[in-house]
């Protein structure tokens, strides 16, 4: 159980402090409640470009001063943009906590004076090269564009990717940066977590010192488009890709209840039974029988109306995409018969993985910010450590029956049958600075 304190500053900034004095290291993590889901049509990829600009200096920090200061003390820093949020984080030797707070507060309060058209142009080129490196020049690199646009309707915020289109990246202006900052980068749209070697009272005092004078902003506008969607696609939707990929691959996605619902826990257990670990059904029946080179299952912790359940299966050179799809479908069709033993294995596997992940302060601080942002209570992290134990076999079975049927599938198949172009999977996680 982690010791967790929560506070709210006068300007609305929520603050989580979780002391752990085992080693002289402290993690600082900020979640801003803005991500690709907030981007209107014609501005895809903007939240991510903005994240890059947050490293281009602020009123009291020179260009690239953020990384320079952190590297000088032996810290690590980065940021990622995702669908529902953008996070910024530092891990530093604990006697440098104030440095991290100074840097984060300066860009929350005083970013705009440092913004120039030249810096935007530079980072636009950097992001375009990021897109080329991770999407356009990589086998399977565009999988998420294809899966998202098939799974989510055009007016849903998850229809487009975090990286965005080249055209929209090209269209970003300095005015957009100013508007976006004023709209979303305000203390009342953020959570700050401090985790690790600190005295809580002293840490809170430092947080107040650096952040309290930043003015509150008006509440951010509602999300563009429609967020309420049925948890079914209405059929098995297909998109085939003829590309020079080395091996056939199938992505099979479903719309399932979002992270913030009680049903998600059953989904977590069912997903593990189906496709996490070498006792999972996909591994046992596809990989062990040499139908697939690899096959696994992912449940994304997204919150807006629905989230994505995803199977990724890669074949061998002599497997057909059809064969792969049929095998994956068969596992989803049959998932409703999962057993008590499989559920028990999924639960202990998840609990152990979570504890191991919590060894890293960066992960711990990020989860605290996540729980505070999405549930209004960082202490929920402690409750959730053992929450999966309460999922029953019946709940997991019902979840499979309700959401993994053939009337709720989006299938993207890379056919490996065309020598014209090569594109490998990027992870389902966010874009990094």
């Amino acid at each position: 159980m982690l010791q967790i304190e929560q506070h709210v500053l006068g300007n609305g900034l929520r603050v989580v402090i979780a002391p752990d004095r085992a080693t002289p290291v402290v993690g600082v993590n900020l979640w801003y409640g803005v991500g690709s889901r907030n981007e209107p049509e014609g501005r895809t990829g903007f939240a991510h470009i903005f994240e890059h600009m947050m490293f281009q200096g602020s009123a009291h920090v020179p260009t690239n001063g953020h990384f320079h200061h952190i590297e000088l003390v032996g810290g690590s820093a980065n940021a990622t943009t995702w669908f529902d949020r953008t996070n910024y984080f530092e891990t530093v030797p604990s006697h440098n906590l104030d440095l991290a707070l100074w840097l984060e507060s300066d860009r929350m309060g005083w970013m705009l004076p440092a913004m120039t058209a030249e810096k935007l142009e530079n980072q636009r080129q950097v992001v375009m090269n990021e897109r080329r490196e991770r999407y356009d020049n990589q086998p399977y690199g565009d999988w998420d564009e294809r899966v998202q646009s098939l799974l989510f309707p055009e007016d849903h915020p998850y229809h487009h990717t975090v990286i965005g289109s080249m055209e929209d990246i090209a269209a970003a202006t300095l005015d957009d940066i100013h508007d976006f900052f004023a709209t979303y980068y305000i203390p009342n749209n953020a959570v700050l977590s401090v985790c690790g070697d600190c005295d809580p009272a002293h840490a809170l005092e430092s947080v107040r010192h650096y952040f309290e004078s930043i003015p509150r902003g008006p509440a951010p506008p509602p999300l563009p488009g429609t967020t309420r969607i049925p948890l079914a696609t209405g059929g098995t939707l297909h998109s085939d890709v003829h590309a020079a990929v080395p091996l056939p691959r199938v992505y099979m996605a479903a719309r399932v209840p979002p992270f913030t619902t009680e049903a998600y826990y059953a989904g977590e257990v069912a997903s593990s039974v189906i496709g996490r670990g070498r006792s999972s059904r996909l591994h046992d029946r596809l990989v062990r029988r040499r139908v697939a080179k690899s096959a696994s299952c992912h449940l994304l912790p997204l919150t807006t109306g629905a989230t994505m359940f995803l199977v990724v299966a890669t074949g061998f050179p002599d497997t057909s995409a059809e064969e792969l799809e049929t095998s994956v479908s068969a596992e989803l069709d049959a998932a409703g018969d999962l057993t008590e033993a499989e559920v028990a294995r999924a639960v202990i596997g998840s609990e152990t993985r979570t504890l191991r992940a919590l060894q890293r302060l960066e992960t711990r601080a990020d989860l605290l910010s996540m729980y505070a942002t999405l549930f209004g209570d960082a202490r929920r992290l402690n409750e959730d450590l053992r929450r999966l134990r309460r999922v029953t076999v019946d709940e997991a079975r019902e979840w499979c029956a309700a959401y993994l049927h053939a009337g709720n599938r989006a299938v993207v198949r890379y056919l490996a049958d065309d020598g014209s172009r090569a594109r490998p999977a990027t992870s389902a996680h966010g874009e990094s600075a």
């Binding site: 085992a22 080693t23 002289p24 320079h68 604990s94 980072q123 090269n129 080329r132 152990t352 504890l355």
Partner: protein
């Protein structure tokens, strides 16, 4: 708020020491290294075998990797499925990993399940089945991975760079996992032979890190490995020499690429190199950090790339020194030119005092940040065994880093970086990039296809 103008002063520093490592030997003489204590109730147990790819025989390159992978495929007592269930029923994460110098097989779990996990770890290492159908599956996976590498720009660049930097037939001239031809020559019998010849308790160590008392840890270790007897010879040393001493450029043509994957470098240094700490510092200055010369130039000044890194990859033999990046086709020549210029500048002028101080300060501070998990600590301790590092290596690490001076770093640059021998590899659209590279005068340009064939540009 006037106090925003300058970064805040650091608070009082709290000391940090590498965790204390207890050393013991089992009844059969096998070395055990143990860190007892962790913030959370988890534990990692790792067998490190001095049996990496360097030990694979000619014609069967990739054997050590494939045998290591297939350890997960069942034992003489448990099938692949039974083994996976036995481990995952108690929440154990497990895996084997093979590099040039070693194979590690590790389990990570809740501390209370160590007594259940350790016998299974021992079984994987001591009595793999390599059952023929199951082994064939692992072999097919390795072959498919090799096929994937031929279509992945970063993998193509790394493999081509190794081929053109190291003399033909030497240890590091080929991919660590072998080639499709060499993997084709491997069968279950070869894997049994490799294990019999290379896995033995006196060429291995057992590392345990986590929330477990010393006495209990040693008892489960003894039960798992204490009666394992097999005499195997010491690891063969790698053979690595440069393919040429002149600058050369190799373009691997990948039609319709929208980016060029670039690698520039040459034969580097072995792990035992005397200048090891000076080279870590030097590498941070050149391209080993966000604030490095290369990244600030190619990314932050010119917008050529999402990122650029340099690295020495020290192994028991001299691994490659390489700068690696990906840039748009149109600026490929300009980027390669800048990389060469930055390397030349560093060798000629050496790093500045400020740069060396920033790098040593970084290394001292970041040390505890990389020792947060039981797995990270176990991996560091495993390196001590593989590279014969002295017992006080990590305890004195920050002192050794702090002793690196500007003069040391400058001398290390002159000794170990040779601009006149740089081998440049570009994976991209040859039609676009060859004219740009020919204008640079950095050596003759040869064009190859992705299968390894070559032609004049």
């Amino acid at each position: 708020m006037t106090d925003r103008d300058a970064p805040p002063a650091a608070g009082p520093i709290r000391p940090f020491e590498f965790p204390s490592v207890a050393e013991a030997r089992l009844g059969n003489g096998m070395e055990v290294r143990l860190v007892s204590g962790a913030a959370l109730p988890v534990v990692t147990a790792m067998v490190v075998l001095k049996a990496g790819e360097t030990a694979s025989p000619a014609g069967r390159e990739g054997l050590a990797v494939l045998a290591g992978n297939a350890l997960e495929g069942g034992t003489t007592r448990l099938s692949s499925r039974e083994l996976a269930r036995a481990l995952e029923d108690i929440g154990v994460g497990f895996g084997a990993s093979t590099g040039w110098d070693s194979t590690t097989v590790a389990v990570s779990c809740l501390a209370e399940h160590l007594p259940g996990a350790m016998p299974l770890l021992a079984e994987m290492v001591r009595s793999p089945a390599f059952e023929s159908g199951e082994f064939e599956r692992y072999r097919a996976q390795r072959l498919a991975t090799a096929a994937q590498r031929r279509m992945d720009p970063a993998a193509l660049a790394a493999d081509a760079h190794a081929r053109f930097v190291f003399a033909r037939g030497g240890t590091y001239a080929r991919p660590v996992g072998g080639t499709e031809t060499s993997i084709g020559n491997i069968d279950a019998g070869a894997a049994h032979g490799f294990v019999a010849a290379r896995y033995g308790p006196l060429q291995a160590a057992l590392v345990m890190v986590g929330d477990v008392a010393e006495r209990e840890a040693l008892a489960v270790a003894e039960a798992g490995f204490g009666d394992w007897h097999r005499a195997v010879p010491p690891v063969p040393e790698p053979v690595a020499s440069p393919r040429q001493r002149e600058r050369v450029v190799h373009v691997v043509h990948r039609a319709e690429s929208v980016q060029s994957r670039i690698r520039v470098g040459h034969l580097g240094v072995p792990r035992s190199v005397e200048d090891y700490f000076a080279l870590i510092v030097l590498n941070l200055v050149l391209g080993g950090s966000f604030s490095s010369r290369l990244n600030l130039n190619l990314r932050e000044r010119r917008g050529f790339t999402y990122g650029v890194r340099s690295s020495f990859a020290p192994r028991r033999g001299p691994g490659p020194f390489a700068v690696s990046t990906a840039v748009e086709n149109a600026v490929t020549g300009a980027a390669v030119g800048e990389i060469h210029r930055e390397i030349e500048d560093l060798v000629e002028g050496g790093p500045t005092r400020k740069e060396v101080e920033a790098a040593t300060s970084y290394l001292a501070g970041v040390f505890p940040l990389r020792l947060e998990t039981t797995g990270q600590i176990a991996s560091r301790i495993a390196e001590m065994t593989v590279y014969d590092l002295p017992d006080d290596y990590y305890r004195s690490y920050r002192d050794r880093v702090g002793e690196v001076t500007v003069a040391h770093a400058a001398r290390a640059a002159r000794r170990h970086i040779r601009p006149a021998e740089l081998c440049t590899v570009v994976v991209g659209d040859a039609d676009d990039v060859v004219p740009q590279l020919e204008g640079l005068a950095i050596g003759p340009v040869t064009v190859h296809d992705t299968a390894g064939g070559s032609s004049a540009p």
